[in-house]
């Protein structure tokens, strides 16, 4: 009996449609987040993450509807991030069918948000999303905001320690340097976070080949999030699981009962 590593596809949702290149043309209508969620579920995804990048409030309403419709047919954990500024935003998402929420920029500008969410709903609902890059801060890693476009001057490790005291269930660690490079996860960053944190760490950014996934696990990650490589079909979820299973990691096999 062992806890399995988790493979988590991430879908960027804007105004109710999946954006950021998808290439599922032979499989489905690539833009429908509910269909994609169901497909990834059937392929063995262990969780799903929706990142709402809508700029408008009507777009956010649409995301609630997407979450509702996904919860109708997908029975694995669903995390929703993007634009969450208050405990009532969280309540609306949980009522729609989300199991967890991720916060980033709003928590940096107002750290009390973390305690407000974890006091109301339990720290297990809260994923701290940390977009970090290498910089001349104490630990050598700085937190960025607005999708990596703005530096915050905040040291990533200090921020994680502060947020952990306020109550978080896990950390989604995005390397802004590695993101999109396909040169592998930032292993030093994963090790540094593992060293100071005792909540699960989800590695994100940089996956390009199968050994990148096992390298991230060896560095201390508990779960692996990826977007483009799954959307473009470079690897299917089962390819990653087969590779990791053969390498001796515990992976969940689909139910065949």
């Amino acid at each position: 009996m062992t806890l399995s590593i988790r493979i988590i596809p991430c879908l960027d949702v804007q105004e109710g449609r999946v954006v950021k290149g998808v290439n599922f043309k032979d499989l489905m209508d690539a833009g429908d987040p509910v269909k994609m969620a169901a497909l990834y579920d059937s392929e063995g995804a262990d969780e799903l993450t929706f990142l709402d990048i809508s700029a408008s409030s009507s777009g956010r309403e649409t995301t609630l509807d997407v979450v509702r419709r996904t919860a109708e047919e997908v029975f694995i954990p669903l995390t929703v991030g993007g634009g969450i500024r208050s405990a009532s935003d969280v309540n609306a998402l949980l009522r729609a069918g989300a199991d967890k929420v991720s916060v980033n920029t709003a928590a940096i500008s107002r750290p009390e948000l973390i305690a407000e969410i974890s006091d109301s709903f339990g720290s297990q609902v809260l994923v701290l999303s940390v977009d970090a890059r290498r910089a001349k801060t104490i630990s050598g890693f700085e937190v960025t905001t607005h999708g990596g476009r703005q530096g915050s001057g905040l040291d990533a490790m200090e921020w994680i320690e502060q947020a952990s005291k306020l109550g978080i269930g896990e950390i989604l660690l995005n390397s802004m340097d590695a993101d999109g490079t396909k040169l592998g996860y930032d292993l030093e960053m994963i090790r540094a976070v593992r060293e100071i944190s005792n909540v699960p760490v989800i590695a994100s950014g940089g996956a390009g080949k199968l050994s990148d996934f096992s390298d991230a696990l060896d560095a201390g990650a508990d779960a692996l999030l990826a977007a483009s490589i799954f959307h473009f079909g470079e690897y299917r979820i089962k390819d990653v699981k087969e590779y990791l299973g053969a390498a001796g990691y515990s992976v969940r096999q689909p139910f065949n009962g």
């Binding site: 988790r6 919860a71 005792n198």
Partner: protein, 201 residues
């Protein structure tokens, strides 16, 4: 009809959908009479033990659970909805208050001894042959999110899982059943377990 007890805890929509997928009629309610009379009652629960207990007491959930057990009516606790069935938990709230559990089972809930908490993700469950919940399910993984658990149980049917140490993954005691994991979030294996329970009631 199956009633899901609404006492302000968690994602009830997923639970409603997962139980409805077994073909049952499902209502989410805190109405005492409906909860007492329902063919099956589901007691969900996420977050802190004390907060859940407070919410449960506010809707007389403790008395509903006791009355149903006395009348041999099936009840299923999930996650913290399982933990509150025990006598107590060592998880204190931020204000330091300690509330006892409903006390259907005598053991206590304690923190898991593991370097990384919460225990979050899919873990395999060792299922015994005489289990109603696990009929047709062997060596499957279920989705867990928790930092506290029962380390022992006198219930007639107990399944175990392991994270840092062995803990009780589920318990069946006559009409009272409970799972530490979330069957409503555990894909096909979870839906099968829910169907097993629904068909047994």
């Amino acid at each position: 009809m199956i009633a899901i007890l609404d006492y302000g805890s968690g994602n009830l929509r997923s639970a409603q959908r997962a139980f409805a997928a077994s073909g049952a009629d499902v209502v989410v309610t805190s109405d005492e009479k409906i909860c007492l009379d329902a063919k099956g009652l589901v007691v969900p629960g996420v977050g802190a033990f004390q907060a859940c207990m407070r919410g449960l007491l506010a809707v007389n959930g403790d008395e509903i659970i006791r009355a149903r057990f006395a009348a041999d009516r099936p009840t299923l606790g999930i996650c913290v909805g399982m933990q509150i069935l025990f006598a107590s938990s060592s998880e204190s709230s931020r204000d330091g208050s300690i509330l006892p559990g409903v006390g259907m089972w005598n053991e206590s809930i304690a923190r898991l001894s593991a370097p990384v908490l919460p225990h979050m993700g899919w873990n395999t469950v060792e299922s015994p042959k005489n289990s109603v919940l696990f009929r047709g399910i062997s060596e499957e993984s279920f989705y867990f999110v928790h930092s506290f658990a029962a380390k022992e149980s006198d219930a007639p049917v107990v399944t175990w899982s392991e994270y840092g140490e062995r803990f009780v993954a589920s318990a069946e005691d006559g009409s009272l059943s409970a799972t530490q994991f979330h069957p409503e979030k555990s894909g096909g294996a979870g839906l099968r377990l829910i169907k097993n329970w629904v068909e047994s009631i």
